[in-house]
Subunit: 186 residues, 2 copies
DNA sequence: TTTACTGTACCGTCTGGACGGTAATGTCAA
DNA sequence: TTGACATTACCGTCCAGACGGTACAGTAAA
């Protein structure tokens, strides 16, 4: 779809994500995005011919970045173990950022829940890969859901976990599933 | 705030929740809610003088119902065990409903994320109660987060878990809390 | 008389989007 | 070499409609 990246397109996407994050998902209007991206509204609509296209771009961009990061973390050791490890590490890192990276997801839901279909498909595939390489299916499921839960809490602005609790969860998630009890890495 | 319940008020709230669920959170306009509730717009604004008041009502109503259900399930045996059991049972039951009960949460987020502050406070207190009565803190945290994760997935329309997987998670959540999941102790 | 509405009319603002430019760059035939 | 046209990448304006909210007159029951 996009062989080379024209700078404006990605700037618009970044502006939209930042706007949803900073001003709230309800403030994600075309005018506001255009203004923040330093582009006229006409210019925005040139790159994204409708608001729906903008939302789709946001979703696809998010998935692409997620996949790229995951691939980078896994490099070539695509055993289930390595994938899970990379996923957990990535997720915990993203949880440590001050602001949730995907606040635009609320705008997408309000606009049309179907916008999230590709995202949900992606998640389904990811979970399947995770489970395929897992020695303990229930444990992997549990870990996945716990991460999902933490992301959800963060997205909704609920800061429920104390540092100690977060540490306990981290320790559980980072500990190996069956094999070598995983001495502290990194 | 409401000693006795005038029927219209709760009808409006129910209509709003149903509308967000059926038509999508983006369609939650005052006109639409009034129409669905069988009330004129003036009547709606009589009960909820602003849209913000409506959202607040939605949140408060949700919390109140949640608490009532939980209290009912716990009855009087308020040991930590019983509370957790009731919470798990309630949550799993709500996950089995076809439609998520709180789709309006996206409208609230889009309108103003602060609307969820009371809800998050409530969740914080609940988690504290849950943890206070827990023999295995990490396990309780994990269970809470996994439930949160499943609710989040459902809210976002992601149907990722197979029946067997759901059964495995249910079994884990419903099993007594004395045993730690298969994790290497550190 | 108060409470709890209904119904209609209206207002200002915001929003998505259509549209008509336009400037720069490239393509290509005569 | 040059003129004609095409494409890309925007800008700025305008508009119809939706929205939240106000105002107010009326009504029917307690």
């Amino acid at each position: 779809m996009s062989g080379n990246r024209p700078s404006s397109r990605s700037r618009i996407l970044a502006a939209a994500a930042a706007l949803a994050r900073d001003a709230g998902p309800g403030k994600l209007s075309l005018d506001a995005v255009a203004g923040r991206a330093g582009v006229s509204k006409g210019g925005l609509l040139y790159h994204f011919p409708s608001k729906a296209a903008l939302m789709t771009g946001l979703v696809e961009d998010y998935i692409a970045e997620f996949e790229a990061n995951l691939d980078e973390a896994v490099t070539r050791d695509d055993s289930g173990e390595a994938l899970m490890k990379a996923y957990v590490a990535m997720s915990l890192k993203s949880l440590d950022e001050k602001q949730p990276p995907a606040s635009w997801i609320f705008s997408a839901m309000a606009e049309d829940p179907d916008f999230l279909d590709p995202f949900n498909d992606f998640r389904r595939k990811l979970l399947q890969r995770l489970l395929a390489g897992s020695a303990d299916r229930t444990r992997t499921l549990l870990a996945y859901l716990a991460i999902e839960g933490m992301h959800s809490l963060k997205l909704f602005g609920a800061d429920l976990l104390s540092g100690d609790d977060r540490d306990a969860i981290d320790a559980y998630l980072l500990s190996g599933s069956t094999e070598t009890p995983a001495s502290p890495e990194e």
